[in-house]
């Protein structure tokens, strides 16, 4: 009796699975950071309605809060930084404005690393607030 040859099928499915596993973490908006945990969050589907500003810790840091300046990102683009490694507020604004122009309906979502000091995150928020963005979202990981 002739058996069905399932080898090519399994090949294709496995390749798809691997591709899928590799791509999924990349699909989230912004940078993958160690988000703070919160229980009272609202869950929304991410359909590009946010301008995601990520604030991440410097990779060299082993103790927290980290004394090194934080890195700022708008979507996947790192915000320009000066000689001391500090992000330039003007460039952050420029990048946000650029995103706004593409879609004025978007709101700002801040994805900040839980291990940062409050003032490091606040610095980003202050740049936003000074320019009229006083209602913003912060991203958190769901805590059950």
């Amino acid at each position: 009796m002739a058996d069905i040859n399932v080898t090519p099928l399994i090949d294709v499915v496995l390749v798809l699975l691997v591709v899928f596993m590799v791509i999924t973490p990349m699909l989230q908006s912004g940078l993958p950071v160690d988000l703070p945990k919160a229980s009272q969050t609202t869950t929304v589907n991410d359909v590009g309605q946010h301008i995601v500003v990520s604030v991440s810790v410097s990779e060299e840091c082993k103790t927290f809060p980290c004394p090194k300046p934080a890195q700022w990102w708008v979507e996947q683009e790192r915000v320009e930084f000066d000689d001391s490694g500090k992000a330039v507020a003007g460039d952050l604004l420029q990048q946000i404005n650029f995103s706004f122009r593409a879609n004025p309906e978007r709101t700002v979502l801040i994805k900040a690393d839980a291990r940062l000091a409050y003032h490091q995150v606040r610095e980003v928020m202050d740049v936003l607030a000074e320019n009229g963005m006083t209602s913003i979202f912060v991203s958190a990981a769901k805590e059950e």
């Binding site: 069905i4 999924t24 229980s39 609202t42 000091a117 409050y118 607030a129 805590e143």
Partner: protein, 280 residues
Amino acid sequence: VGAQLGNKGMMSELNLTPLIDIVLVVLIIMMVNIPIQIERMLIKLPSNVEVENREEVPTDQLVVAIYEKQPGEEDNVIALNRRRMTEEQLFFQVTRRLRSMENKNVFIDGAPAVVYGRMVDIMDLAREAGANKVGLARLKPTGPLPPNSVEPGAMERGMLLGSPTVVGVMSVETADKGLKPALGSMEACYFKELSAFSDLSGRIMLRITVAPDGSLMRVKVASNSLESEKAVPAVQEGQPLTGGPAVEACILSKAESLKYEPIGAGNTAIVQYPILFSPG
């Protein structure tokens, strides 16, 4: 008949190709559609216009201050309107004071060196206590004004119901009205256990899913932080519950008889009640 002709090759083989085609197409469609979800929390930032620098917090405002962690301290000191208190007391006080307020706003004032994760914890606590809007106060390089009192906020003996949070089609008033008939018997649940565990305190989050006709679809305790210094015996099968778990079970049984106003066909609502218990 053909299948019975024997095993000499007359058996017809199932053609799997269309099936595989369809399965693969479905797989690809599902991959494209994976909803990437984001957990978010709305916060308000001070705008440039309102520059306030007050020594005293107006009585109708709630300002939670988080101070820098000093060496030797286990956790950041927190204060509500400059009164120092523990996190549990903070939750109690914020819950109690928000209930009578029309604009349920809470402002959070953190010291620059506080870890951001801790800030989000407190924002989360404020929301859990029933705040509609959480605002961040202007950042001062020296941190928030120091607490002017070290006595912890007083709590009354008994049970206190906080502002319910509603997801779905139901007003907060209806949610409050729905739970009202059971409040007395729920407090009795607590007092019963309080006689055995005199310092039993904490909070229970009661989550009720309401069906279109106002009946209950699901009653659940989302969290229970009731604790006593006196060790509560571990839950054993066949033994009656004691302490926190007993209050939880008792409250669930009292909640089951509740009936809400009908909320209309096709609608459901999930109501979450923070219920606080304090031995005073």
